[in-house]
C-alpha cells in the first residue's frame, strides 16, 4: 500500500487555482521562515533529502491531508529532529536543557548560505550496476509500488504507474537509490531512466490517444518485456 502523498491520478480534488505570475513568493511570512529553518537544519548534516521527503510522507494521513504545504514541512522537520536525536520531546515542549547544542558548530552561517545553495547536492554517482535497458526498449514498472527493502518505506515509484508498460526514453546516469538512502541503508546507486508511458497504459479514459506521461524510474523498479 502506498501513502497519502502518492496522489497522481486521484479523483475528486477539484480545479487547480492558478496564481498571478507576480504573486508573492511566500504568501505568509511564516512560509518563508519554515523554508529557511528547514534548509538550515538540513545543513546540520543529520539526514539526506530522501530522509526528509520520507519524514513528510509518514505524517499521519489525516495530518498530511489537513496540513498546508509548509505545515507539512515544519511538522516533518520537528519529527525528524527528534527521530535523529538532535532535539528531545522535552525540547519541543520548552522544557529541554539550556545551552549550546553539540552540533552548534555545524550551524549554517549567513556567509556560507550562497555557497551551500550553489553547491547543491548532486545525486549521480560512479559505479553501481551496469544499465540493463536501452532507449526504445519496452519495460514494465514493478507492481506493487512498494519499497522492496523496508515495509512501508519510502519509494519514488508512484502507484499509478505500477504494473504499466512503458518505453525507455533516456538513461540519466547512475543515481542514489531513494528506497535505500531514505532509511540509512546506503546510497545503493542504480541506473536511472526516463520512461515514457502512453496515457492509455495508465488510465482507463485517457484524454487523447497520443498523450504520454514520462517518469524517472530506477532500474530495480523495472523489468524487461
Amino acid at each position: 500500500m502506498t501513502r497519502v502523498h502518492d496522489m497522481g491520478g486521484r479523483f475528486g480534488d477539484g480545479p487547480v487555482a492558478p496564481e498571478a505570475e507576480d504573486a508573492p513568493v511566500f504568501a505568509e511570512d511564516w512560509h518563508a521562515r519554515a523554508l529557511a529553518v528547514t534548509l538550515a537544519c538540513g545543513a546540520l548534516g543529520q539526514w539526506n533529502i530522501d530522509t526528509s521527503r520520507h519524514a513528510r510522507e509518514k505524517l499521519s494521513p489525516k495530518d498530511y491531508a489537513r496540513f498546508s504545504y509548509y505545515e507539512k514541512w515544519i511538522a516533518a522537520l520537528a519529527d525528524l529532529l527528534v527521530e535523529k536525536g538532535v532535539l528531545t520531546r522535552a525540547d519541543l515542549e520548552g522544557k529541554g536543557a539550556a545551552g549550546l547544542h553539540k552540533l552548534a558548530e555545524r550551524a549554517l552561517k549567513a556567509e556560507n548560505v550562497a555557497g551551500v545553495l550553489a553547491k547543491g547536492g548532486p545525486a549521480d554517482r560512479e559505479g553501481g550496476p551496469l544499465p540493463r535497458f536501452s532507449p526504445g526498449q519496452a519495460v514494465r514498472a514493478r507492481i506493487p509500488a512498494d519499497n522492496a527493502l523496508v515495509d512501508g518505506g519510502h519509494t519514488r515509484l508512484p502507484a499509478y504507474a505500477a504494473g504499466a508498460q512503458g518505453y525507455i526514453l533516456r538513461l540519466h546516469g547512475t543515481h542514489v537509490f531513494p528506497d535505500s538512502s531514505a532509511h540509512g541503508l546506503g546510497e545503493a546507486p542504480e541506473p536511472l531512466y526516463a520512461v515514457r508511458f502512453h496515457a492509455s497504459a495508465l488510465w482507463a479514459h485517457p484524454e487523447h490517444p497520443e498523450d504520454e506521461v514520462v517518469l524517472d524510474l530506477w532500474q530495480s523498479y523495472l523489468e524487461p518485456l
Binding site: L39, A104, G120, A123, E207
Partner: protein, 240 residues
C-alpha cells in the same frame, strides 16, 4: 499545570532552557497540543502554523543550531534573487542562438553551469522543447520537485493536491484551467519529476517576436510557460 516547570526552573541556579514558551509569551493555548493523542513529536509544538514555526525556530536558535542571519539570507535569496527571471534568460537566449539551444537540449547541465545557474534542486537539468506536435508539462505527483535555480520556489498551485493529482491523468483539462487549449494535432507529454532530475520547458517562440532582442524576448517568457501550464506571451500582450 502548563508552564509551571518553566517558571520554577527559571528561578534555579542553573536555569533550564525555557524555549518557545517564553519567547511566545507563554499563552495558555500554546500548551494544549491540538492532537495530543498523536505520538508524532510535532504535536508537542503549538498548533497554529505561524506559532509552530516560531517555536521551533526559537528552540533551534537558542541551541545554536540555526543562525537567524542565515535564515534571512536564505529568504532573501529565494524572495528576491533566484526566480523565473533566470529561466526566462535561458529561454530567450535559446530562441536567439541556435547553437546555444542545441547544446541546451542535448546536455543542459554544463550550459547552465556556465551561466551560473547550477545549484540546489537544479543539479540534473533536462530542457524539453515545445513544438507544434508536442507540448510538455511538468509536475511532481509525489511532492513538489521543481528547478529552483531557474524558476525559484514553486507557486502554490504547483504544490497543490489538485495539480499533483490531475496533471498526469487529465493534463488538457488542467491546461484549460490555465486558459490554454491545444489543437488535437498536438500531443501532451507530462513529465512527473520522480527523481533528482529537474525539467524546464522551452516554450515555443511567439509569433511577432522575430525582431526582438534577448532582453525583450525574456519579458515574453512567463514562469507558467516554463512549467508548461502556459504559453509565452505574444509581444503586444507583454506591453499591455
Amino acid at each position: 499545570m502548563p508552564g509551571s516547570s518553566c517558571d520554577v526552573q527559571s528561578e534555579a541556579a542553573a536555569p533550564m532552557f525555557c524555549g518557545w514558551t517564553q519567547a511566545l509569551g507563554a499563552g495558555q493555548s500554546f500548551f494544549m497540543p491540538h492532537d495530543h493523542h498523536d505520538d508524532h513529536p510535532h504535536a508537542l509544538l503549538p498548533p497554529d502554523p505561524a506559532l509552530r514555526v516560531k517555536a521551533l525556530e526559537t528552540i533551534l536558535t537558542e541551541k545554536g543550531l540555526i543562525d537567524p542571519a542565515a535564515l534571512e539570507e536564505i529568504i532573501d535569496t529565494y524572495q528576491n534573487r533566484i526566480g523565473p527571471q533566470n529561466g526566462a534568460r535561458v529561454v530567450a537566449r535559446a530562441w536567439s542562438d541556435p547553437d546555444f539551444k542545441a547544446a541546451l537540449l542535448a546536455d543542459a547541465d554544463p550550459v547552465l553551469a556556465e551561466l551560473g545557474l547550477y545549484g540546489r534542486q537544479g543539479e540534473h537539468m533536462v530542457v524539453v522543447e515545445n513544438t507544434a506536435q508536442q507540448h510538455n508539462m511538468v509536475v511532481c505527483t509525489l511532492c513538489s520537485c521543481y528547478p529552483w535555480p531557474l524558476l525559484g520556489i514553486p507557486p502554490g498551485w504547483y504544490k497543490s493536491d489538485a495539480y499533483r493529482a490531475r496533471a498526469v491523468r487529465e493534463p488538457r483539462k488542467v491546461l484549460a484551467e490555465f486558459g490554454v487549449t491545444l489543437p488535437e494535432s498536438c500531443a501532451v507529454r507530462v513529465w512527473d519529476s520522480t527523481a533528482e532530475v529537474r525539467y524546464l520547458v522551452l516554450p515555443a517562440r511567439p509569433e511577432g517576436s522575430e525582431s526582438l532582442g534577448e532582453e525583450e524576448l525574456a519579458a515574453l517568457v512567463t514562469r507558467d510557460s516554463m512549467i508548461g501550464t502556459g504559453l509565452a506571451k505574444v509581444p503586444g500582450e507583454a506591453l499591455a
